[in-house]
């Protein structure tokens, strides 16, 4: 049994030596060719299989990477959108504040800038809450304006805040006149949240849609010449003493964020300081 093992080993070694000797004497190519006939198809198959397997794996990894990248990019896009919104918001605020500052600097009035911090928009009352109050020496009935025109008046002063009655409040009335014709009248708010101009029929015969209304400045509450709105429609009531005109407000009360409170003397004509008045 032991001899068989050694005989086998001896045979194998002898076969190897024979193979090596044959190769050294130039007979190796035939043996190699014979091996190649057997091994080449196996190698080709294995190479294809490994390539396919690793190709699949690579595809899976790529897909996984793409997915992860996609998620990352989505998050980045989301972040950039938020940043973009912030930039837009800041830019808008900057623009509004610049306009407000420009108006404040040009107006021949003592004014105090304020920020709208709350809105009461129910219909019964239409008001804004501004972050200027008793501590800022804001007097009651102070006129409140914006670069676009008149907003209303302060009706209540509290510590830290003031309540501004907006022109569209149902109890709000402001003396006004048509800029083009000087037709006097009263601008009233109504519960629908719109403005109407009440004027005497004999005075307002020539009022047209698109005419600009500005404050009359009588009574000393509002400076003269602050835009209130433009005539949208005229309600001709025939022989009635008073006629009415629907007014489109110069200020979008729902969107106004920064205001000026006219804290000083209001006896000035401001027509030239507002675009509508120019």
């Amino acid at each position: 049994m032991k001899i068989r093992k050694f005989v086998l080993l001896g045979s194998l070694v002898a076969a190897c030596l024979l193979l090596l000797t044959l190769q050294m004497r130039g007979y190796g190519s035939a043996a190699r060719d014979a091996f190649a006939v057997v091994t080449a198809p196996i190698q080709t198959g294995l190479a294809k299989a490994s390539r396919a397997t690793f190709g699949l794996w690579a595809t899976y990894l790529d897909w996984k990477n793409v997915r992860a990248e996609n998620r990352r990019l989505r998050e980045e896009v989301q972040e950039l959108r938020v940043q973009g919104l912030r930039v837009t918001e800041t830019s808008d605020e900057n623009r509004r504040l610049r306009r407000l500052l420009a108006l404040q600097e040009h107006l021949p009035l003592t004014t105090l800038s304020g920020e709208v911090i709350a809105r009461e928009w129910g219909g019964w009352i239409r008001s804004l809450t501004v972050n200027r109050g008793r501590g800022d020496n804001v007097p009651r009935l102070t006129a409140v304006i914006s670069p676009s025109g008149l907003i209303g008046r302060v009706v209540d002063v509290r510590p830290g805040v003031s309540i501004v009655q907006v022109l569209t409040d149902p109890t709000s009335t402001v003396g006004a006149h048509v800029l083009r014709t000087r037709t006097p009248g009263i601008v009233e708010g109504d519960p629908r949240g719109t403005l109407r101009f009440k004027f005497m029929a004999r005075d307002g015969a020539s009022i047209q849609t698109g005419d600009v209304l500005v404050t009359a400045g009588q009574g000393g509450l509002f400076p003269r010449g602050i835009p209130i709105g433009t005539v949208r429609t005229i309600d001709n009531r025939g022989a009635a003493l008073f006629h009415y005109a629907e007014i489109t407000p110069a200020v979008d009360f729902a969107r106004v964020d920064e205001v000026l409170l006219v804290t000083g003397d209001a006896q000035h004509d401001l027509t030239a300081f507002f675009p509508a008045g120019g």
Binding site: K5, L20, L46
Partner: protein, 166 residues
């Protein structure tokens, strides 16, 4: 079982040549057929060890493009030696497996070099030992130990499964 063994030996050797780049670790390729021959020789004895070593080496030679017969002879001798000494070797310990495979790889490298010299095949000894044989020996040591541990684990699992079935 025999068919599976033949497939393992033949397929493993050819696969080693084909899939070499995929199994290299830090640029060093373990000699998987050598590890396979050692394991088979330990389990099945010197005859099977020498025969499997011969076939494996022959296929490796053919696939590699060198002198056919060099690795066939070295691996046949290694398979025989390990198979013959198998009963006296304690190969279940990684502390034996790693240095054992390192020594075997170096011995095979030296034998290959000697054969190449005898048959006047050019081979730089120092560089071969430094950049090929020694790194491969270390690699074989660790990969071989891992394979032995994996086989032992597989056997344990198999034993448990069979036990639970019974």
């Amino acid at each position: 079982m025999r068919a599976l063994l033949v497939l393992t030996i033949a397929g493993g050797s050819v696969a080693h040549a084909t899939l070499t780049p995929l199994v290299s670790i830090a640029g060093v390729t373990p000699d998987l057929p050598l590890i396979m021959v050692v394991l088979l020789a330990l389990r099945r004895g010197p005859e099977f060890g020498s025969l499997s070593g011969f076939v494996t080496g022959l296929l490796q030679d053919a696939a590699g493009g060198g002198l056919i017969g060099v690795q066939a002879m070295t691996k046949a001798v290694i398979g025989f030696s390990i198979g013959a000494a198998g009963a006296r070797l304690r190969v279940s310990q990684p502390l034996v497996q790693v240095p054992g495979l390192v020594v075997l790889t170096i011995a095979e490298g030296l034998a290959r070099f000697a054969l190449l010299q005898i048959f006047r095949f050019p081979a730089p000894f120092g560089e071969l030992m430094m950049y090929v044989v020694l790194p491969q020996a270390l690699c074989n040591g660790f990969v071989g130990a891992a394979v032995v541990l994996a086989l032992a684990w597989a056997q344990t699992v198999r034993g448990r499964l069979e036990g639970s079935r019974a």
